[in-house]
């Protein structure tokens, strides 16, 4: 089993005619994903990489049975696009777009949760399950099929760590990049819950960073509910306090949210914490 994606996943790419949408719809398909449709208003009837394009998500769902959406539309239109997917009955939504206004995210995340829809992002690389498929922009070549579940708040740092695992012969069951925005549709606890239940995930890697308290909350959850071994890396151990380090999430405030506080909480929950990313494979052995 994998989490949030399986062989029944049928992907519609919202914003498929843009550069990112075109590139990644092909990359997803090459990775084994069943990409059945694209949506760009006004471009119905066209094809991108042989994938039929529709004007609306409702049309795409009616014609192709799409159940998962990957959203690439520009930030000002993202709320509309996500709401459209929610309205059309899509069950899993991955929002790749970055710089989505936080009030838009709050609204569509709340609607998704009330409908029981799994929404990942915004500002996330998405999910990948080697041998099954991927929804999002994670580079295909870094993955290897295996039994470690990876959940991360970062993008390229996730690639770095997954790549290091693969180079050491440690494969992944599913990798979920939840994104670094302040209001994530899916958080660590949501993914840890799924990994704990997933029979094919034997160990878990959690990649966090300074700012917010998501890692502390994850640590509490691990302590109470996760029986599988967990290895973590927290980026920003040496980042100076008070500096905003790029991600909306990565700002240190009031003692909580520091690397120390996160590492301490995770270690108290029995999690092995790597000092640098390249130590992760060693700790998984």
């Amino acid at each position: 089993m994998t989490v949030m994606i399986d062989k029944k996943t049928k992907v519609v790419v919202q914003g498929i005619t843009g550069y990112q949408g075109t590139y990644h719809s092909k990359a997803m398909r090459d990775f084994g994903t069943n990409v059945v449709a694209g949506v760009t208003p006004g471009k119905a009837g066209e094809k991108v990489n042989d994938i039929p394009v529709f004007d609306t998500v409702a049309d795409a769902v009616a014609e192709t049975g799409a159940n998962t959406s990957c959203v690439f539309v520009p930030a000002p239109m993202t709320k509309d696009a996500v709401m459209e997917a929610l309205d059309a009955g899509i069950a899993t939504i991955v929002v790749v777009t970055e710089h989505v206004p936080v009030h838009d995210a709050i609204h569509f995340v709340a609607v998704a949760r009330s409908k029981g829809v799994a929404l990942v992002g915004p500002n996330c690389p998405g999910l990948a399950a080697p041998g099954v498929g991927k929804v999002g922009i994670l580079p295909s070549k870094i993955f290897m099929k295996g039994t470690v579940g990876v959940v991360s708040r970062s993008g390229t740092l996730t690639y770095e760590i997954v790549n290091a695992m693969t180079e050491h012969g440690i494969g992944q069951s599913t990798c979920v990049g939840i994104g670094g925005d302040r209001v994530p549709g899916t958080n660590f606890v949501d993914v840890l819950t799924r990994f704990q239940k997933d029979k094919d995930t034997k160990k878990i890697v959690l990649v966090g960073e300074i700012g917010g308290t998501a890692e502390e909350e994850a640590a509490e959850f691990v302590k109470a509910h996760v029986t599988k071994p967990v290895v973590a890396y927290i980026a920003g151990r040496t980042a100076p306090p008070g500096k905003r380090m790029g991600h909306a999430g990565a700002i240190i405030a009031r003692g909580r949210g520091t690397a120390e506080s996160k590492i301490k909480a995770l270690e108290a929950a029995g999690v092995k914490v790597a000092r640098i990313p390249t130590d992760v494979p060693e700790l998984l052995r």
Binding site: V102, I106, H107, T156, V183, A239, A250, R254
Partner: protein, 367 residues
Amino acid sequence: MKLYEYKAKELLKKHGIPVPDGFVVSSPDGVKQLPGPVMVKAQVLIGGRGKAGGIKPANTVEEARKAASAILGLNIRGYVTKQVLLERRLEVAKELYLGITIDRSRRGLLLMASASGGMDIESVPEDKILMLSMDPLIGYQGFVGRRVSGFLKLGKEQGAQVADIVKRLYALMISEDAELAEINPLVITKDGKVVAGDAKVTIDSDALFRHKEYEGLEEDLTPLEAKAKELDIAFVQLDGNIGVIANGAGLTMATLDSLNMFGGRAGVFLDLGGTDDPEKVKSAMLLMEEADPKVILLNIFGGITKCDTVAKGVLEAIEMRPTSAPIVARIKGVNEELGRDMLKEAGMIPASGLSEAAEKASKESLR
């Protein structure tokens, strides 16, 4: 984007929240007449103004000019005062706290209120602060205001005024795309009025596309910071001597952590975001030249672009402005070896992994 107090108060006023009469000047001569006894307040984007001498009372135009001239130009914890707000002094009976912010854990808005306003809200014990997580699908309803005024133990009249302010502050958060709207103190005056004594509002910079009114608003940026911002590159000045260019906040911080392991210290770092766009890498290289670090460490984890294409951009940047600083380069992804050979040929120090790159850069920086 943080707003100055006077800007924040303009927003409060627009949404019908009472603020003291006042005006802003950038020179003492700007003071022509007063609405009554005033406070002259430094407009800086940092707290602790009072203690730094940035707030003074004045009763006459002459006193106000004197106060303004003392405060204008004042350096408050690194921020130079360029404007002062003169506003009618309030006869304070009681000071409350009211704020709304983003609640990451509960993925919505968090409303905070306390009867112990005025002082640093962080030092008020938690049981003295009402923390109300607001369900986005419920939004503001009358009960929210009633819960706030009930918690603050206000009488009927002030309770109703505060509830009305809560409603208006919530409306401001949503319609102005604020990520923070805080009134501290929220003053109950001796004649029973509820007025915003001070205000902090931060606008979500991701929402500026629908708030054209902020276009061209001046920000306190160094020339390098301004240039980086224009290129959509996150720029952070630290105190070491290694210039780090990486793509993605997490990877950038991990690069810093790794340098630290090998005794190296980052100076400037540039985060390109999650992109490996060769043009952006090139711009970052040029920007880094201006920051003049002792060693440059380039750590790019490629997603879409081929490594040799990224390497080509780096080489073009170097040709445009030859540097004496050694460059340790690590570009990961498709055609990795091709890219590495190109960089090596141009005299750069290639590295294949993050640890190796950090070790080499640290070594160079300690030379």
